[in-house]
Point group: C2
Chain length 419, copies 2
């Protein structure tokens, strides 16, 4: 393996998380320190920024460790994101031609893409094209998604912070709901189209705080209204304040989403059904069935952007995985996705590893059977033990004038700077 001296470019793609900028900070820090990398560029709005040459110089903006720390504590994707799906690989596709011309123009030897399942697909396609066409560029994917549904890694950066937000907020909601004596059902809708990892985090307060939602319904099991009503009836007999956590992706046994009626037929660019209103749909159904007070709460995008509740474990790991991606690339790795391998539960220990990206892209990791109870209305202790270590620790956030301080990037393109 020969060292290849050149430039690196990094982009962010897919939905924001509380940790995607932490990974970006790790990539930038490692790139700045690595002698094989002369410049580290940022692609604004992911692969779209490469295509439009909307590329910024990151070396200059991050010459101080404080700035990198501020970046790591800033929510969402500082470089902007996109949901662009590359066309299937084809030697004469103009999109690929253009992309690789721009890589040549900027002397790009290392390409880092921080994103979810769909972004790993982009990395996989680019590396396949590069190999076929003889380009000497390393393509490395770094997973991030609050959904935790990426194959080949124990968990994804961003999940631990979202889980901590959900668990903390659930604990506070449980306090709030306990104050009245009038029978009431509160339904908390949590993100997760195909996998129930986020919804499962609602169970965390049970282990050490002794409080928990009455039921937790994950999309891994078909949703049955009859069982659901029976569950609620049983809970209302025990106490007046019933709290339920549901995944936005709940489906009936016929495969139709519970929340589908509200947004029938609408899909996003990847063909995923656009969901809205699982909580609202169930709220109306329970109100109809029981005639009691019913409220639904959507944790909405706060789940993915509430850095003020980020997990220190998640943010630290997210930085480390970004740094490791740079090492992997400089050592000659390509078509790889960075991953976590859990070494032990107690004490919690992970090591960073890398896997072939093709084995991760376009697959969804769902919650395993061992983590879901027999009645399909709760998670098991094993599930809680898996999630909890990912939520440990609080960030030393910088607050000024009562609010957390965020980093704001200068998006002036390199081309404009040079002209």
């Amino acid at each position: 393996m020969k060292n290849r001296i050149g430039n690196a470019i990094v982009g962010q793609s897919g939905g924001p998380t509380s940790a995607i900028n932490a990974t970006l900070s790790g990539v930038i820090r490692a790139a700045i320190e690595n002698p094989c990398i002369e410049h580290i560029y940022g692609a604004i709005n992911g692969i779209e920024g490469v295509l439009s040459e909307n590329i910024v110089d990151l070396d200059v903006q991050f010459d101080r460790p404080e700035t990198l720390q501020l970046l790591a504590h800033t929510p969402a994707a500082t470089l902007g994101s996109c949901r662009k799906k590359l066309p299937p690989y084809s030697a004469d596709d103009p999109t690929y031609h253009k992309l690789f011309r721009i890589f040549e123009k900027y002397n790009i030897r290392y390409f880092f893409y921080i994103g979810g399942n769909d972004s790993m697909d982009t990395v996989s396609k680019l590396s396949t094209y590069a190999a076929a066409q003889g380009y000497d560029i390393s393509f490395i994917g770094v997973p991030k998604t609050i959904d935790n549904d990426v194959m080949g890694t124990d968990h994804t950066p961003g999940y631990g912070s979202a889980a901590k937000y959900i668990a903390t907020t659930m604990q506070e909601i449980l306090c709030d709901c306990a104050v009245y004596t009038v029978p009431a059902v509160t339904i908390v809708e949590i993100m997760g189209r195909d996998a129930g990892w986020l919804t499962a985090a609602a169970a965390l307060p049970r282990k050490f705080c002794g409080v928990s939602p009455d039921y937790i319904y994950l999309p891994e099991r078909p949703f049955d209204y009859i069982q659901f009503y029976a569950d609620i009836e049983a809970a209302l007999k025990k106490h007046p304040n019933v709290v339920i956590a549901v995944s936005e992706g709940l489906r009936r046994s016929d495969g139709h989403y519970i929340g589908e009626s509200a947004q029938s037929g609408v899909t996003d660019v990847f063909g995923h059904a656009y969901l809205s209103g699982t909580g609202k749909t169930l709220e109306a159904a329970v109100k109809q069935q029981f005639g009691c007070k019913v409220r639904s709460i959507e944790l909405n995008i706060m789940q993915r952007c509430a850095v003020h509740l980020a997990s220190q474990t998640d943010i630290s790991e997210s930085i480390r995985v970004g740094e490791a991606a740079v090492r992997c690339a400089v050592e000659g790795g390509t078509a790889k996705m960075m991953a976590f391998k859990r070494i032990s539960d107690e004490p919690y220990q992970v090591e960073i590893t890398e896997i072939d990206i093709a084995s991760a892209a376009n697959h969804v990791k769902t919650v395993p059977d061992a983590f879901i109870n027999e009645n399909a209305n709760d998670v098991t202790d094993a599930c809680i033990d898996y999630i909890l270590p990912l939520c440990i620790g609080e960030l030393p956030l910088l607050y000024q004038n009562g609010l957390p301080v965020h980093f704001h990037i200068d998006k002036t393109p390199v081309s404009a700077e040079r002209s």
Copy 2:
């Protein structure tokens, strides 16, 4: 004035806040320390707990300062709450008879009620009855409401923490919304049926962080769809990510709530219209009008229970106002509501005072004209300067195993303990 030695009872009423337990902790601490008070009791679920003799002994549970601090950092109302409205004063009403028999039974000389406008009405009625019937009991109201709509006080305990939650979350939502380039409108629905204080807090990140929602609509101004669409159109011409803060209590010029259709005709026990869906209603309207991506976010009850983001200023003041209520009562005060008087803005300074409760009960303090801009689609700098000091400072929360630690009360009634 003669010192009256006897027992005290405290209750919580109305909607939970992040600070109502802080005030409770202040009342308990001051009562325990005051030689005129032999026992401090807690009424479970407010005035309903008195009527049903669901009364707990608080001296025993709070004999350590750490427990009081934990209580002050626990969301919602630890004693439970109620929404019971006392019947109008009448000398022969059986409810009043019963209440005062129980006060006598427990040798109650001091009654503290922590609540919002409706709770102040309860204190006002009880003190009127006591005066007319010759009972020597002090009735003191301590305001709490995230709504900040109580007359006679610069602000209410609980508002600063809710405002900090709203401002912090809005700042994170703004980060999240900024990542895509596709035109999109995000509508954030914030609590406040009649007053826009909470919605106004969405503007806070503007002053020091330089980010802000594009528009802020308060219930103090009639909502005009034509102006609303014109505002959005103008914003979409400037940037693709339009973010709007709206109050749940927005009304058209004919007085009907925007969100009314969803819950038509439903009212709570105080006759207030039950609102749901202002954000959802506007989401559908904007989607219809512009055809772009539209999302609505309800900050929901997290606004009132997110102690993990509580304001240190608010929590400290809430404790102090509880302590002051005890002093006021022991010094012979009755039919009073504790209040804050702002002495100066820079540096921010308040003093605690007391006002006649009749002047506060059943009135609503709305956002003044000087705090709303001419176009009725934003707040002024003066409004931000009023709110900001109330949000300063972060709580030194105790976290264990990744989650904040909350206090859990023992609700065994005094009568059961004695039997």
